[in-house]
Amino acid sequence: MTEEIIIAGFGGQGVLSMGKILAYSGVMQNKEVSWMPSYGPEMRGGTANVTVIISDERISSPILNEFDTAIILNQQSMDKFEKSVKKGGLLIYDPNGITRKPSRKDINIYSISATDKAGELGLSKIFNMIVLGGFLKMKPLVNPENIHKGLEKSLPKRHHNLIPENEKAIELGKSLLTPEQVL
């Protein structure tokens, strides 16, 4: 099993940490993982993206030109990464701020209204966990126990009290996921 994922959005959306929690959970589940962020000035107020690979085998390239899954959180990222999803792959997006919906016919497309929901519930800090939940619903690569451990490892100790909330957000995300095109 190898799952190659791109997560892309605005700098402030917690893209990198979502990838990190996913990657750490993978480690806990005894998988090989790689987490490759975009870095540098493009991050200052701009977009951010991270490639996460989770695999049973040694990972070859941490840098990829196509992905099993793309998690897309703003329009720029949609423009950039929709085309990079493998045929038959998965695209999950948050419709908030999306002006042009995905148009590919050869991939599975799901939307998740995480921004709206998070705003509603005053949970914007863990908006990214809702999205992660949506992804995990489709690709249950790691089990809840290891996600818990992953959260423990990736959050600083002083934030460990927030783990239950994070887990709840993940569960919420699972329920929010809406199929738009299923092949």
Partner: protein, 360 residues
Amino acid sequence: MGELRLMKGNEAVAEAAIRAGCDGYFGYPITPQSEILEYLMMAKPYETTGMVVLQAESEVASINMLYGGGGTGKMVMTSSSSPGISLMQEGITYMAGAELPALLVNVVRGGPGLGTIQPSQADYFQAVKGGGHGDYKLIVLAPASVQEMCDFVKLGFDLAFKYRNPAMILSDGAIGQMMEKVNLFDPIPRRTNEELISQCPWAATGKKKERDHIIITSLDLDPAGQEKVNLKLQAKYKQMEENEVRFEEIQCDDAEYLFVAFGLSARICQKSIELAREKGIKIGLFRPITLYPFPTKQIAALAKKVKGMLVVEMNAGQMIEDVRLSAGNQIKIEHYGRFGGIIPTPDEVVRALEQKIIGG
């Protein structure tokens, strides 16, 4: 045994330094490697192992701090990225000339000049041919994973002390910034001063009654003396060439073609192999791990078996010269490069293979 963590390449370097028993880190911030100093400052090893960590006023100061520390037998290191490493060239050739051990980490970014902060491999020539003046060599290790960022810190120190020669880890911004699983080796205690003095009798540690005073220098005003220094260095380099070549062969057994690539490029080529083999192209990867000493013999041997080699580098063609010098001009050897911070994708590498080697 060991400890498993998910870490950035830069963090792995810093943690490995502490665990390797490093005595001192001296460095100056520069993207994309500032996390090394930041991690160390956060970890405060001066309160645990006693390792000194100092932010220097510049890269010139850093490398000369290394010269000082290395000259007294201490296990010292610095890290920087391309422009900072260029500033260190005088200090580096001094250290090579004075035969001092030290570890330098270059997390390469796109050049020339201020360039860009994205990853690159365009400092190959500088690292292996000598960016400084005179005939000298660095031991150059090219990690391709975060695990190797960790392991090569220890290996780099070992080789540096074995040969009394500066060693360099030639990494890049991507490997520095990406996170992977790392199996951290168990901490090795820092040598006591007494251990150091007995292990490094050549080091300036304060003149003892029973021995002559020690002089650390790279100067010999008498050219005959300076030629002797050079002959000694050349003999040492020959030793390294015989004993320290490291490389990795992936799917070379049945290969008709080869990628030759180091570091991040080698990782990308691994994916390209998957893609190419799906198309029925029998291709393998030869990855030099030590860029100096270069795996000349191994490439010469492979050149007798394969039809062509594509050298993939994130530069305009640097290691290809060493590949050609090793392989001769009987088979087709071409270069595929992206530069200035652009990383080639696995599929474009396969296309380049088809166009330049198989088709061409």
